[in-house]
Symmetry: C2
Subunit: 183 residues, 2 copies
């Protein structure tokens, strides 16, 4: 069985997590890997319907993603999680579950609130600034930046393709993909 | 990648689902398969904390198990689900999710309420009969027996080992395991 791993993208809404995850995932698929996307929003419909955005509910959501990621990692998948996952301790719990079976690679997808707000086509930040949406990470709810992630990509200066390339290089460096995966 | 499948054990509490699943799982592991157990009770702690036993909550729980089973099936696991899963329509939904990626084998683990109550070391049935536990499947909550399961094992007449053997034979017949898995 192929060695599974979980690539965990954390960062603000609009930082570029899903966009980069899709590029990385396509490259991995092209190289023959079985990829599984666990997107925070998608998971909320399948696993966490009814949960809100309190710290407790966010933690429950992330722990569920971590648990599913750990099962899939065990079976050799390349699991790509895109979830704001604002709390360091909860990310650490997810790491612990995954590392029982494979590698956990935390990627901090970094961009300022201002940049994310500028990019925001859905107008979520505007509603967060006006108070119409409450408990919005980075505006009215905390985001604890990773202290020691495996990788940090600054999407204010890097294009999504450039970020994806750095991530694939990191995966190769960690021995998680063959060198021939085209970065 | 190995072809994944989900073996779905449905039946009353105490019918023998988990016991038989463990025997089948061990045989599959001995034959080199990667096995994943999704036990209804265990899943409730990881995915469905806070859900109760109303029809809606039971359905949500089973749909979550079905979703996770489908992801794992996709990655080649032999997924063994043991869950009362009392509603036909919800089992059908789980089947639909899994069959996108592999085979779904429904096993009806059959025993009468009376037999299950006699076996019940935890005294759950007694509490259900007295009304102390409400919404107890087979006593005060419905159980819709599978109309057309891939296999039916009657645990009033078969030992767990005999049931496991029938299941392994069925898996071989369906081409889901090599013939050399010792039944």
């Amino acid at each position: 069985m192929t060695n599974g791993f979980t690539l965990w993208f954390t960062g603000l809404s609009g930082a570029g997590k899903s966009t980069i995850a899709e590029i990385v995932g396509r490259r991995l698929e092209d190289a023959g890997r079985a990829v599984e996307y666990l997107d925070g929003d998608v998971v909320r419909t399948h696993l966490s319907k009814g949960l809100g955005f309190s710290k407790e509910d966010r933690d429950t959501n992330i722990e569920r993603i971590g648990w599913v990621a750990s099962r899939l990692t065990r079976h050799g998948a390349a699991v790509l999680v895109s979830a704001i996952s604002p709390y360091e301790e909860t990310r650490r719990k997810a790491r612990g579950m995954v590392e029982e079976f494979g590698s956990f690679v935390e990627v901090y997808v970094e961009a300022s609130v201002e940049t994310c707000a500028e990019r925001d086509v859905k107008g979520l930040y505007e509603k967060a600034f006006s108070g119409e949406i409450k408990e919005f990470t980075g505006v009215s709810d905390p985001y604890e930046a990773p202290v020691n992630p495996e990788l940090r990509v600054d999407t204010e200066t890097l294009t999504p393709d450039e970020s994806a390339r750095l991530i694939l290089e990191k995966l190769a460096e960690l021995g998680l993909v063959e060198d021939e995966v085209p970065a």
